[in-house]
């Protein structure tokens, strides 16, 4: 099956700093989503971005499908940004519909 690798595994920032999280995937995809899992375990969908660039407030994401990677940018980080960020993809060859394969996540800690 498709492999999803996220880096870095852990990231510690001071409030106000910027960061870039990376997601590499091993095959063509037709679905790529970024999620934030807060410290209470709730998974929140941030972006649906199989290609191109999107922005939502302080967050933006870019996916370069031809090179099989996606980047999540967090600007002016806040303590509420802390948690785990997951990249999840559906392989282009997946015939059974939307089976998301998740990476292992990036654990982000933003200190005040």
């Amino acid at each position: 099956g498709i492999q999803v690798e996220q880096s870095p595994p852990d990231l510690i920032l001071q409030e106000g700093a910027n960061s870039t999280l990376r997601c590499n995937f091993s095959d063509s995809v037709n679905n790529l989503q970024w999620f934030h899992q807060n410290p209470w375990g709730q998974l929140i969908n941030l972006f649906y971005i199989p290609s191109g660039t999107k922005q939502n407030g302080r967050l933006s994401a870019t996916t370069v499908a031809t090179e099989r990677y996606s980047l999540l940018y967090i600007s002016s980080s806040q303590t509420t940004d802390s948690g785990v960020y997951f990249c999840a993809v559906t392989s282009f060859w997946e015939t059974s519909g939307s089976r998301l394969t998740f990476g292992e996540g990036t654990q982000l800690t933003v200190n005040p």
């Binding site: 999803v4 999840a88 939307s98 996540g105």
Partner: protein, 115 residues
């Protein structure tokens, strides 16, 4: 609009006991997913329903796990008997359609501890 509802939020049982988890998806969402999340890892799909039909259950350990989605709305995931290795978070998600481009919305999860 209410989100995906799951219950219970926490469950502690002894090994070999049965346990069941319940999920109510977002109203109007036809597709429902059950995921397993082990500590420090991303969620892994157990089963996906389109309405009442289980269309992807290839990763569900059928010797001890079962699921149902009667009437195409609520769903129940059962483990019988539970083993120590089943301790994890069980997540339910739903999406409006059935295609690969659908955004999935997750519930808060059920944290299971098997002693």
């Amino acid at each position: 609009e209410a989100g995906v509802v799951q219950s219970p939020r926490y469950k502690i049982i002894e090994k070999k006991q049965p346990v069941a988890f319940w999920c109510n998806p977002i109203s109007g969402h036809n597709t429902l997913y059950w995921y397993l999340q082990n500590l420090g890892q991303g969620p892994e799909l157990l089963i996906r329903y389109e309405n009442e039909e289980a269309v992807d259950d290839s990763q569900l350990p059928k010797d001890r796990f079962s699921a149902e989605r009667l009437k195409g709305v609520d769903s129940t995931l059962k483990i019988q008997p539970a083993e120590l290795g089943d301790s994890a978070v069980y997540l339910c998600a739903s999406s409006f359609g059935t295609g690969w481009q659908e955004t999935q919305y997750f519930g808060p999860g059920t944290r299971l501890l098997v002693l």
